[in-house]
Subunit: 404 residues, 2 copies
């Protein structure tokens, strides 16, 4: 390939994670070691708040940031450059291309999920059509773990580590003061993060006792029967629920159940806000478990929605830290050899765990959603051993917890 001289730009997009800054620093380091060192790239710019900043000319020169600062930034959660939820269409991407031309940018790196890879794809197409030579790279990131062609995605292992740790600790709280405990986990379309709750189990009666994924249609009657069964056996029940659970027709339970409960009791009320699904499920259990199980008084039912802490908690998985950094470096290195692509994490070996970084086409990953494969799911309210074997090496060592 010819040597393409000019500047580089890197941006962060979508929901931040505990390790998205590792990838940012990986790209910067990778560029410095290769393209900048060879004199091919002059300046490395950072987009402030993703492409939203780029089209406004809001960029930051990253060349002079000391290595020690970069090292600390890498270990800091959140998007150090700021992020954006914009989903650029053709017109928006045309503006992105204009900004690239204006800043003499020939290397474009965008860290994010499937929307971000789609932005890369459109910008890449526009550049090609316009005859403007631009190397477009997508660096994978998402706590949902829903990118196609990837064994897993940077950001997921750390979020899964938080969820597993939270379920371990909360399970002991639930043993201390028994009752029904519902924990709502992120993941609008894919159940990988909710499934990670099952990593908390050590002994037979450890929670989570029930796991509900978006991939398995949710049925309220069956749910109550499940809870009743566990409660009868253990006198308590810890439940992992994905925020994205849906009914048989693909309607989100967060909408239907909340509506239904409120309608039944009080008329047509629309709820919103992040605690609503957990609260609605808790109401359902309070109301129906007592009748179903012929209890003399309502059971203790509590719901927590783990919320944004899942994606920003500063205790990243060691594997995730390293892989997120390496994914950024791989993108910078590949930009020397290929005009475009996305970095895919491919598991090269399971025991010992080892992961490789491969270049895939932007179209392989752009705007596609990966779901939990059937072999990771056991029945309608559990995950399979195959999932646990898959996820365990990713999250790292979990805290030791002992019983009397």
């Amino acid at each position: 390939m010819n040597t393409l001289t000019g500047n580089a730009v890197v941006g962060q997009s979508g929901g931040p994670t505990a390790v998205i800054n590792q990838s940012l620093v990986g790209v910067i380091e990778g560029l410095k070691e290769t393209l900048v060192a060879k004199g091919v790239v002059t300046s490395v710019f950072g987009m402030l708040h993703g492409v939203n900043g780029l089209v406004k000319g809001s960029v930051k020169d990253l060349a002079n940031v000391p290595a020690a600062t970069l090292a600390r930034v890498a270990d800091t959660p959140g998007a150090a450059l700021g992020s954006s939820r914009d989903k650029p269409d053709q017109d928006y991407c045309a503006k992105i291309l204009q900004s690239c031309e204006k800043l003499k940018i020939r290397y474009f790196f965008y860290i994010g999920g499937n929307d971000s890879s789609d932005t890369c794809r459109i910008v890449n197409d526009l550049a090609r059509k316009a005859g403007y030579e631009l190397r477009c790279y997508h660096v994978p990131k998402t706590v949902d773990n829903d990118l196609a062609k990837n064994d897993h995605t940077p950001g997921y292992p750390s979020a899964a580590r938080f969820v597993a740790t939270a379920f371990m600790a909360d399970s002991l709280d639930n043993r201390s003061l028994p009752g029904v405990k519902i924990n709502v986990v992120m993941g609008r379309h894919a159940g990988f993060l909710t499934a990670a709750a099952a990593l908390a189990r050590r002994l037979d009666d450890d929670g989570p006792h029930l796991v509900y994924l978006p991939e398995v249609p949710f049925d309220s009657d069956r749910f109550i029967a499940d809870v009743e069964r566990v409660y009868a056996r253990l006198g308590r029940c810890q439940i992992a629920v994905s925020e994205g659970i849906q009914d048989r027709n693909g309607r989100p339970i967060a909408a239907t159940l909340v509506e239904q409960i409120e309608q039944d009791a009080h008329g047509n009320v629309q709820l919103s806000g992040s605690g609503a699904l957990g609260d609605a499920l808790a109401e359902l259990v309070k109301d129906r478990l007592m009748k179903a199980a012929n209890m003399s008084k309502p059971p203790r039912v509590r719901a927590d929605t783990f919320g944004y802490l899942q994606r920003c908690w500063p205790d990243a998985s060691p594997v995730d830290r390293q892989e997120a950094r390496d994914a950024g470096r791989a993108a910078a290195r590949l930009a020397l050899e290929h005009t475009d692509g996305s970095i895919a994490l491919v598991r090269a070996s399971s025991a010992p765990y080892r992961c490789e970084f491969r270049r895939i086409e932007l179209t392989d990953v752009a705007a596609k959603t990966r779901h939990m494969p059937p072999e990771f799911i056991d029945g309608h309210s559990n995950v399979a051993k195959a999932f646990l074997d898959y996820a365990r090496p990713l999250v790292g060592e979990l805290p030791l917890m002992e019983r009397l």
Copy 2:
């Protein structure tokens, strides 16, 4: 004092914490080293689920638990013996006393908050009246930090550490994708835990930008004006709200605001469940900030309720781990010399931080609630430097987070 021979019992009560097992192990170790070693105490029993288990004869012999197991249990969150929410009256306490007589218990240790110290007080009074010699000790525990005569309470520093860490990380998430972020923190009557959010601040524009405590009457109009001011300056706003905020008449906002919003829009609806307050405040901001600030579109508003993770997260403050253990040991040691009492943590020195354990009367702490003192509060939406100086040595070193 005479040597009182017999058995000992220890129990855990109320909401568990990250270090309540440290106190349990402290009591056991203290007893083994003194009363058991001297042949004064024969068996050490653990109440399963507090006095609820004791009155049912549901106890566990703790004498043969290996030291290595105890060490691991001490580092495990949750109540290893199980806990109870029972608030015993005179009749209930009479049954407790009967169980003590039956099990030849002469040493009674109860780890918990102000309700648990009240149980100790009643049992102690009944025993004295009945002429049954019993040494009753209360060992302090509560994440709310609301025990009288204590500088602080075991359990609080670890929960405060979680809250401060969560606000640091969430503040970076909020910088990445700007908007209004409301985080609801535990503490029904006292604001100490919510106030700990302010420990997250490093730089001028770091969150939390607003802090609302139960000690300061909450006014919705003033709240919106506060948010509007911060949002105008920074384009974002991170808010710490105690679950126990109240209006001028002492009515919990969790009840009034939720009701009011639902009433205004849709009729008379009662909400319940743990996410309700955060969601109601988020609705209020969405609705009114846009009008107040003449925005063209509604601001991004999100609410998280930190929930039970605050009291069980397995990353205890080092100071808290040690003090909780020492409080348990102090109770066992004092039971050799005094008939009853509670252990109070008294700050002996601020720089360097040093804490002492003193015996206080059960009546000093029983059923009393301590609030944030006025000197810890700055205006209606912030904490004072005096609070930060007070809390900083308790939570231990917080993670380093770096900006570009």
